[in-house]
Symmetry: C2
Subunit: 271 residues, 2 copies
């Protein structure tokens, strides 16, 4: 409970950066990618898996450099560049295991998964901000935290049936439903007050990103469980690391971005 | 030696499909992705890692369906769809580990790496074929096999210095240099006779894709070594599986595609 309140206070500067968007939001995402990746890689070391951190850090630099370059080069933004970055990162990660006496393919796989799961996924916050609907960047956070907070309180008051007792023992089915309802409510209110022309999409995203957000939470938990750690770090002492607080956002960000890219932009169903 | 000759004969129908391109080439890539992924996942079972095959198979279906849909939908081809497919595949692969009593994050990581390394990478053959320079699809194969065959013969006749004795004991530095020279020669000849306006690019790709091709070969070897298997399969009895024959292509295909997409298309340096 106390953890959650302190975490909520720590969110204030984050909200400011989200409000400013653009360069400030990109800087925040670089920070989250860097610290999150470091936590993730260090977690693996607990189970004797040794990803090559430097490959991950270079991939962050290259991705945001490419993004900035494309934004200011005067040429149209080219998503093939992002695909090229991904392919190059996977190839670079594969190099790890050529040193076969010291490294295993599991080390290479962990290096690659870290880049895809943390660097690539968190980058979608920036992509939402750069899209035709930058207001939607708020939904990335609203669905993730809305779902989390409402799930917590619904679980505390009404929770009876365990959802996944082995993976995350405190989660209940009642909490899960309450979380989705909360995410939908918060997203709907946000749409109603701040993005009326997108209200229906806010409600749809509230439901589905609320569900996806639980997937992000459970993914981070499963890795932690396997690594044998309770928290990814202690950036905020006693309150976990970046990956403990942003686990849901890793999944809601891509989901909301591709909803915009496919439903609103490609098929123009929103207009 | 005999293996190599028989493999070469088996390449004849492949060359025909490559010649026809388009639908036929896509069908070949689906086949390679399906069989290659199956071999890769089965290899992991030797070391008690259990990827979820069905997620991989569904990802192949979805990717080629999306691709076909975009080609014939009348809307411009949208690379964000491919990014969305990738993100969705990574999320789907993460679901694997929610069943934490039976599955581990390593199973999920193997599921995801299989999709990225085999399905996504081999798909670039199709992307090259659909690009503005479909003739370049030949280079994907010419650089991979040119490098492989010339490396073999240079190694046999001049090989003295081992390149990576622990990972691939037969590879020599002399063979590596001979392979790059061979890849460059074959690509250059191809450019001279069949794509004169792209000759300089064929030579550049001959050099660099020749190097990248060795990376593909070593990556496949490192996985095999870790899995404790000699070959990925026996599709051609006694001559290995799809992943033994197409290991280099997994890396040359993305390299050549992004060369086209970035150097020739985005920056138009070739015109």
């Amino acid at each position: 409970m106390k953890t959650r309140i302190i975490s909520a206070i720590c969110m204030v500067p984050l909200v400011a950066l989200l409000y400013f968007g653009s360069f400030w939001l990109a800087a925040l995402c670089i920070f989250v990618a860097f610290v999150g990746l470091r936590e993730f890689y260090q977690g693996f070391e607990h189970e004797d898996v040794h990803p090559v951190k430097m490959i991950g850090y270079v991939s962050i630099f290259v991705l945001y450099f490419l993004n900035g370059f494309m934004l200011y080069s005067g040429r149209p933004y080219n998503y093939e560049m992002i695909l090229a970055w991904l392919a190059a990162s996977v190839m670079a990660g594969s190099l790890v295991m050529f040193d076969i006496t010291k490294k295993t393919p599991i080390d290479a796989m962990a290096t690659i998964i870290g880049i895809v799961y943390i660097v690539f996924f968190s980058f979608h916050v920036v992509l939402v901000d750069q899209s035709d609907y930058p207001v939607m960047r708020w939904l990335v956070v609203i669905t993730a935290f809305g779902s989390d907070i409402f799930a917590y309180f619904t679980g505390v008051f009404f929770g009876k049936h365990k959802m996944c007792p082995n993976l995350s023992p405190k989660k209940t089915i009642e909490g899960f439903i309450g979380g989705i309802a909360g995410s939908t409510l918060c997203s709907g209110l946000f749409g109603f007050f701040f993005a009326k022309e997108l209200l229906i999409h806010c409600i749809i995203l509230g439901i589905f990103a609320g569900i996806v957000s639980v997937g992000g939470d459970l993914t981070a938990s499963a890795y932690k469980r396997h690594m044998g750690i309770k928290d990814y770090g202690n950036l905020i002492p006693g309150h976990g690391g970046i990956m403990d607080r942003f686990d849901s956002i890793m999944f809601t960000a891509p989901f909301i971005y591709y909803y915009i890219a496919i439903v609103l932009d490609h098929f123009q169903l929103g207009l």
